[in-house]
């Protein structure tokens, strides 16, 4: 099938530290931008499109764009929580195809660790006037207890076990041991994960991702510009997004928006899941990865547990290498928003620049999927299919 006019990811940069006690959010935004520019071989003056999330302080893009002193003709602050930055890649490509910009900068930066904001246990910071607030806030909704409900239902419906979920973390630790920047580099076993303290049944402490400061940036550019740079060419060939809510109280929490965004993005790319050997999948919790594997079609619904068991996600061991940087479970989850680092590791893999111990040989296709928000409540899935030219 004819692919739509597309764009390339020419710059990708992950801030190296996992704790930034002495930096402002704006400084981190600047360092992320400069890192991506250096990676691509572009100048700040080349940037004419800016995409950011609510982690950028100020009204939409205005304060940070002004701090960075960008001269822009296109901005987009689509916010779907952790999947925002994954969606931004697609929106940047669309803006470039529409002639609205040539070089789009996407940034993320946050300091939840320095600011003492734990991820799962605290109530969300919602607007009391959002219509669902009064029906959820009284009951103590927190990130972990709604993901816990997803895991509990998946176990009930499909017989998924804590030991199977643990394999997702075990695979992440196998990859993280090779990442000198990862927050946790120690190998863990299935027993260690399944026997770690229960935080919110059925999820254990080691089923949960890390809390880190940091961030990163991406540069999405027009094809003619990408071809004049010295970096390997990584092209976006398929994308889709899918918000999923509660549907008036008639819902199945064992199915995510990836069941919609995955097939749509793969169809646009003209490939199937069988063609994919590397995937970056948002791993806020172990159950999140299981759900995406099923909904993206890597295995049948309910078979995620068997798919991940026995090293199914470990590079060089399983059919599909997942999150070879160590993912959010071991490496990095900057600003509690994982959609940026997922894209960055996929770009490393396609360039052949992942750590040699986890690099998938001769990789020419990669899939990125992010789930922003809460699986069991309201979330947005975003899928990208990337190709090495």
């Amino acid at each position: 099938m004819a692919r739509p006019a597309s764009a390339y990811i020419a710059g990708a940069y992950e801030l190296p530290m996992r704790l930034y006690p002495d930096k402002s959010l704006a400084e981190l935004q600047a360092e992320a931008m400069l890192g991506a520019l250096a990676d691509a071989g572009l100048e700040r003056s080349d940037i004419d499109g800016f995409f950011c999330g609510p982690d950028a302080p100020g009204t939409g893009p205005l304060s940070i764009a002004d701090y960075l002193n960008l001269k822009l003709r296109h901005v987009d602050t689509t916010n779907t929580s952790g999947s925002s930055y994954t969606i931004h890649v697609a929106h940047a490509a669309q803006a470039i195809a529409a002639g609205k910009c040539d070089v789009a900068l996407i940034t993320l930066a946050g300091r939840p660790r320095s600011e003492g904001r734990a991820k799962g246990a605290l109530a969300r910071t919602d607007n009391p006037q959002q219509p669902d607030f009064q029906w959820e806030h009284p009951f103590g909704l927190a990130v972990i207890n709604v993901y816990g409900m997803t895991a509990m239902r998946h176990m009930h419906q499909y017989g998924t076990t804590s030991e199977q979920l643990a394999w997702v973390k075990v695979a992440a630790s196998h990859h993280a041991q090779h990442n000198p920047y990862a927050l946790f580099r120690d190998l863990v076993t299935v027993e260690e994960v399944a026997n770690s303290p229960l935080v919110c049944d059925p999820l254990h402490r080691l089923d949960c991702c890390v809390v880190t400061d940091g961030g990163g940036a991406l540069l999405v550019v027009r094809p003619e510009i990408a071809r004049n740079l010295k970096r390997p060419l990584v092209r976006l060939i398929g994308s889709a997004e899918a918000p999923k809510g509660q549907n008036g109280g008639e819902f199945d929490i064992t199915v995510s928006g990836a069941a919609q965004s995955g097939p749509a993005a793969l169809a646009e790319a003209g490939v199937t899941g069988a063609d994919i050997r590397y995937a970056s999948l948002y791993d806020s919790f172990t159950i999140t990865v299981l759900m995406q594997l099923e909904d993206l079609g890597f295995c049948a619904k309910g078979q995620g547990g068997a798919f991940v068991a026995d090293g199914g996600l470990i590079s060089g061991v399983g059919r599909l290498a997942v999150n070879t940087d160590g993912g959010g479970l071991c490496n990095n989850h900057p600003a509690n928003r994982g959609g940026m680092t997922k894209v960055i590791e996929a770009v490393r893999q396609l360039r052949g620049e992942a750590h040699p111990a986890v690099q998938v040989p001769n990789l020419d296709l990669a899939l990125v999927n992010a789930i922003g928000g809460q699986l069991a409540v309201r979330h947005a899935s975003a899928t990208l299919v990337l190709e090495r030219e």
């Binding site: 246990a121 109530a123 009391p128 006037q129 219509p131 669902d132 607030f133 009064q134 029906w135 959820e136 806030h137 009284p138 009951f139 103590g140 909704l141 927190a142 972990i144 207890n145 709604v146 816990g148 409900m149 997803t150 895991a151 509990m152 239902r153 009930h156 229960l198 935080v199 919110c200 049944d201 059925p202 999820l203 509660q246 549907n247 008036g248 109280g249 008639e250 819902f251 929490i253 069991a376 409540v377």
Partner: protein, 136 residues
């Protein structure tokens, strides 16, 4: 003696939902139902989420349902059970399961309404395993 029970946080009623919270204070559990398509929905709203009609009304809910899923927030102080309960009227709602042994709960268990008073005195619709209350 079990630990103290978690006190629900206050809702933030709007003009659209004041009737629900007023009725709750009087011990009544209302569910929003559509006169056009006949379906009940959750959470309550004027616009029917199924057929987009504005012709919706409050009906008396049975206060009965089954656990669709739950999780046990054992690290919280005090610990509590987050749950989705599938109401007898059809839709599934977020709630807490109270008056229970959290480790003995099962998906599919029958539950019944058990209002709990929030910090600010709102009656918040929680559920407990059926048969726990003195009335049953």
């Amino acid at each position: 003696m079990a630990q103290a029970e978690r006190i629900p946080a206050d809702p933030n009623p709007s003009p659209e939902t004041e009737a629900f919270w007023e009725a709750a204070k009087a011990g009544r559990f209302l569910v929003r139902c559509c006169k056009a398509c006949g379906k009940a929905h959750w959470y309550p709203r004027t616009l029917c989420p199924f057929c987009a009609s504005l012709d919706t009304e409050w009906i008396e809910g049975s206060g009965r349902g089954t656990i669709y899923s739950y999780s046990y927030m054992r690290r919280a102080t005090p610990p509590f059970v987050m749950a989705y309960v599938a109401l007898a009227e059809g839709p599934t709602m977020m709630t807490n399961i109270v008056d229970c042994d959290p480790e003995g709960l099962r998906i599919g268990d029958a539950v019944e309404l058990a209002f709990r008073s929030s910090e600010g005195g709102f009656a918040v619709p929680c559920f407990r395993p059926s048969g726990v209350g003195a009335a049953s």
